[in-house]
Symmetry: C2
């Protein structure tokens, strides 16, 4: 006896990204104007670095506006992006009486937005959340696109969900409080975006990249805008990564593995930089990018003050093994995304952007770096 | 500067529920015929009771069919429905090399299907799953409807997601291996369904309920079918519990709280039985159900061999406090769902099926039980 359950529906996860300066007041205005309906309780999630800089004052503004808000803070750093921290935040919220009628506001970089979006998606089977991104890296990457996750001891981002925020604020003023390493880390994803989807943007970065370190307003705004635009033109076509979205994984096969093997001594963007160079070297051998363009990519990463070689403390055979924790693996085989010259991505047949690469081949490249 | 991200899409989560006998061969046939596309790796999740009865043989059948399959087993019982068990299963799967190209098969009762569906929804940001329900309770409740979750120390089902399986198998033959307490527990949700949505079914149960204990095929099939039908007529209208679906929560405000306070000495259906009686008593006072119908409900629960009074070991003031962990809470106020006589549910205005009840009122009822 069969019973057909029809569950076909239209889902609208559309939302706004606001790019600007000193956006915390705008956030509170939006809440007052019904951004998340009639919700009156807000869990502000942040880390130990960002709490004093921005999260505390956002909480204050929300309370002053007549709502309830509590802070939930964990130690800064990728090492906090775990199931244990998720549990810590959840239990804190539950103990304070938070239930399904609340909204989560993530204030911080990628670790905070990735973790908070995941908490929001599973708290009482889902409450709305808002991202207030305080780093260039999260502006370029984590805060938009709806990928949320935590790491496991084995590798990064293995456990998570797709969950779209109600709104994203990219507050460029916050970049002023970032150390240079964090700015560079954000530029790493920025250059990746240019490599995979926009050669004019790559040219713009070649002309202007140093200005970001001086917080040149126009450059920062342009970069924030183009990161969103490139990322979204991809995500809108393939939200759930069944094909095209894999191109955003450019440089990440080696990048993520080295991030884990470094035990998070390398920031995400630093690890990605090395992964991008590995991809470019491999792509050059395979004829996907000319030597000249490969060098342009290498030069730009260097000017962004990012590492382009594998640090001495990385065990290279451990790194090769770690590649097998990649989510793009199919039937146990390694798959790589490649840029096509500059500003485009290789497609290997019907909606497939991952090329199978033998372990020997990638080990060879890694040994030259 | 604003950037609009358009993410509107049609999602089709439709699936089949198959009710029948000895369905494991059917499951393997369906996989061969592409139920989950080209996936070749299957993680069979089960508990220590069910593994020898059904899960092991399902794993064998899948391997014999030429696929890869591994067993992931945790201790039976509601106490295993935790974030720690979820982590244990995830790490086990990751260690065995499972990535996004796998499918999870949950073989067991509600604890197994709730936990497995949650694991599936977050493993690599989502892999497909199949429910093979081996208890009347899960056939009546957990295996269908797409609610997945784990408990926290504070209360049940607080952390989870909505996640629909690819198919559900309700294998009635498995009911024969259930102890009477488990059959009764399943009948508890069954009676609830009749109370909230189908007075003819209630009449049918009044005539036939004892036959379930004798595994009368026709009665079991009819019960399995009507549980699905009633639950689905609700879930299809409000999958994400923004209104109508709350009626499935009938009896659960007190039920879930007493389940937690009993430290899971009470099975879910046993706790629900007490919660249903509390609801009926309160409903009688409020004029939602006649004394005669209230007694019919009480009698039917007794005939299902379920407790209708609060056990001596329950601390009643702790129970009242625990009510505040309910997900239906709004603005800190307790809300109850009520049946309207037999076969219908009270609606309290626009799409609102939860009535605010003062703590005093419910404490009064609890003290009479």
């Amino acid at each position: 006896m069969k019973f057909k359950c029809e569950l076909k529906k239209v889902v609208d996860d559309s939302y706004d990204i606001e790019i600007g300066h000193d956006l915390s007041k705008q956030l509170v205005e939006d809440i007052k104007n019904g951004l998340v309906g009639k919700i009156k309780r807000f869990a502000v999630i942040s880390d130990s670095t960002v709490v004093d800089l921005y999260a505390q004052s956002i909480q204050n503004l929300i309370v002053q506006a007549g709502f309830t808000a509590d802070l939930f803070v964990f130690p800064a750093g990728e090492k906090s992006k775990t199931r244990q921290t998720k549990e810590f935040v959840e239990d804190g919220m539950l103990a304070k009486g938070y239930r399904r009628d609340c909204c989560i506001i993530a204030v911080g970089g990628g670790v905070v937005t990735d973790l908070s979006g995941f908490v929001a998606g599973t708290f009482g089977r889902g409450v709305p959340f808002i991202n207030f991104a305080t780093t260039l890296l999260s502006a370029a990457d984590a805060s938009i696109g709806g990928k949320t996750a935590v790491d496991t001891p084995l590798a990064t981002n293995l456990i998570g969900i797709f969950n779209q925020p109600k709104k994203v604020y990219l507050d460029i003023d916050t970049w002023k409080t970032l150390p240079q390493r964090e700015i560079s880390s954000g530029l790493s994803e920025t250059i990746k975006h240019a490599c995979l989807g926009d050669k004019d943007f790559f040219g713009y970065l070649e002309e202007n990249i140093e200005k970001v370190f001086d917080y040149d307003t126009k450059t920062c705004e342009h970069i924030a805008y183009l990161n969103c635009k490139i990322k979204y033109s991809v995500v809108m076509q393939d939200e759930l990564e069944s094909g095209l979205r894999e191109i955003l994984n450019l440089g990440h096969t080696v990048g993520r593995a080295i991030e884990t093997v470094s035990n998070y001594q390398l920031l995400h963007g630093e690890a990605l930089s090395i992964g991008m160079i590995a991809q470019v070297k491999l792509g050059k051998e395979l004829g996907f990018i000319s030597e000249k363009n490969a060098n342009r990519v290498l030069e730009l990463y260097k000017r962004a003050k990012l590492p382009t070689e594998i640090p001495y403390y990385i065990n290279k055979s451990e790194l090769v093994k770690k590649l097998y924790t990649d989510k793009k693996i199919r039937d146990g085989k390694l798959r790589f995304v490649f840029q096509k010259e500059i500003g485009d991505t290789m497609c290997f047949g019907d909606n497939n952007y991952g090329k199978e690469i033998s372990e020997n081949k990638i080990a060879e490249i890694i040994n030259t770096m």
